[in-house]
Symmetry: C2
Subunit: 332 residues, 2 copies
């Protein structure tokens, strides 16, 4: 039985969206057990399942504007902290939250703890590509600064994830750079390139450019947390901006365009879905001793469901256990 | 009379698109004189104007895959190099090319030369926002590495440009960062934040996130060349990817969707136009002694026309002369 601790109080739509996602996951997956941390009365309003699910009541929760490290240290009874603590104590195998990202990172680092020999866990998401296959990218902002050594570790982490969770046989690892030529980049990129090229366990395909990310140029893209954060937010901002601009343009146009939009509705929904990409689950704080996974703050029940599904595969394949083994051999 | 040197041989559609853009610009602006550098016979095939235009014939040109610095040093008679040389010799006031970006950067630095006290000229573009006003961002990749001092200089450059060329009275300067709080970022961001906040000549509004760029969060956004390059390419890649995905989705859908797309055609063109944003002109290699402006390699006649229009305003307002004055007072 895979035991998943769920912070029922994190995110804009908590606890309803969280609990509804849990309901669906419990119905679909018979090998999981869910621990819901949060306000018992509120959780019960939405909880349908009563098998393989328990509620651990707490009044405390971390708010979206709490200062992360301080919140983790002071709010010992917060739903998110209790979930992380359950993992540390061996009562749960993984923890999920849609709450304050910084606080979840802090809880992951301070409570769950790093895999031995991993210096700086990174935040990794699955992002959409035009062909629908998607790619993994890290670090998306767990760190403001990284060394080449960290980026090398991200390549290993991402490779294990793509292989185990996404079923990619030989994940192609790309280094995000300002050009594809091997000599490109600042000292961090050049040093990372050398480390990745020298590691024969990796299927390193060289430098990739941000322009080609949606074209499935690599299965795993590694970068430092500052750049990764900027790239992720650029992609999000552009996608949202375009959808909004299209909406405005249709509204301002006449009846003809409105009729057109109506006829095109399914195609536009397809587009929105493929950009949404919540089917791939949440963002993994990767490099910790157990899966610590973040759902988007605005997650609906579907996103929560898919994130539980993702965690289930991470536990099923024991990708974290494999990484513990891998890094114990690699040393620091 | 404003004298503009034009590399007639650079870009995918040269010389036709270049010369056709020149034709239109000469017809619209009576205060410009164009010098066309390149293959005289080919240029003449497309050139309509014969007043205020001259052709300086050369057989040599820089290719898109030439190694930039080497090309500039070896191909002394290349159309791009002759154009830059004309600026250096005082025969032209500015130079435009749609050719090899790296080579144009090298020609700008090595032939035209930097403004005194400016350390690292940056590449600056005008990028689209949802409200149509746009914003300027630099450095978009002229440098692989930058210091806080460089970023401070970019803020001054961008501010002068927005004020003079775009008519923004008090340009809002934003620092691209991984969060909006004042304490965010790596050491480079923190140091830059302090420099910008201390400069009372700037309307510094603090940190901005890549997610908000299309929402007109600032008039000028400064960042290092590596991050700027990644953000620019992410925006381009996402916009292209979405348009392609929409096309695919419409194609795969039935007659209904195709009819819808037909009715929506104008709205979709509007969207494409607003993302294209070529009306704002080309990318300026900013911080040089004269305007050195890069059109996109795939530029059509319209883009070339708008870039000439942009250069004309840069010369009319003497924004570069103002910057020479400004930086002579600031020292290094």
């Amino acid at each position: 039985m895979k035991k998943i601790a769920v912070d029922a109080m994190g995110g804009d739509n908590a606890p309803q969206a969280i609990v509804e996602g849990v309901n669906q996951a419990l119905a679909d997956f018979s090998d999981i057990e869910i621990q819901l941390y949060g306000d018992e009365a509120k959780i019960k309003t939405y909880l349908k399942a009563n098998d393989r699910v328990s509620i651990i009541h707490t009044d405390e929760k971390i708010n979206s504007d709490d200062e992360p490290v301080k919140a983790i240290r002071k709010k010992k009874q917060a739903s998110m902290v209790l979930g992380a603590q359950a993992v540390k104590d061996g009562k749960a195998d993984a923890v999920l939250s849609a709450g304050n990202t910084g606080a979840l990172l802090a809880a992951g680092l301070l409570v769950v703890g790093r895999i031995k020999n991993i210096d700086r866990p990174g935040l990794m998401s699955s992002l959409p590509t035009i062909d629908g296959k998607g790619f993994n990218m890290l670090d998306l902002g767990a760190n403001a600064e990284n060394t080449a050594h960290h980026l090398h570790q991200y390549a290993i982490l991402g490779s294990f994830y793509a292989k185990n969770v996404r079923g990619v046989a030989h994940p192609r690892i790309g280094l995000l750079n300002n050009g594809t030529e091997t000599t490109k980049g600042d000292p961090l990129r050049k040093e990372t390139f050398a480390l990745l090229a020298a590691d024969e366990t990796l299927n390193f395909i060289g430098n990739v450019e941000a322009r080609d990310l949606m074209n499935s140029v690599a299965d795993v893209v590694v970068t430092d947390g500052f750049t990764g954060n900027a790239v992720l937010k650029s992609i999000e901002g552009t996608a949202l901006g375009i959808m909004e601009q299209l909406k405005t343009s249709i509204k301002q146009a006449g009846l003809r365009a409105k009729l057109g939009a109506l006829l095109l509705k399914n195609s536009l929904y397809d587009l929105k879905d493929s950009l949404d990409y919540s089917g791939a689950g949440g963002a993994v704080l990767f490099g910790l001793k157990a899966p610590v996974v973040k759902c988007h703050g605005s997650s609906d029940a579907k996103s929560v469901y898919y994130t539980i599904k993702q965690i289930r595969i991470m536990l099923e394949t024991d990708v974290v256990g494999q990484l513990v083994e891998e890094f114990s051999n690699r040393g620091d």
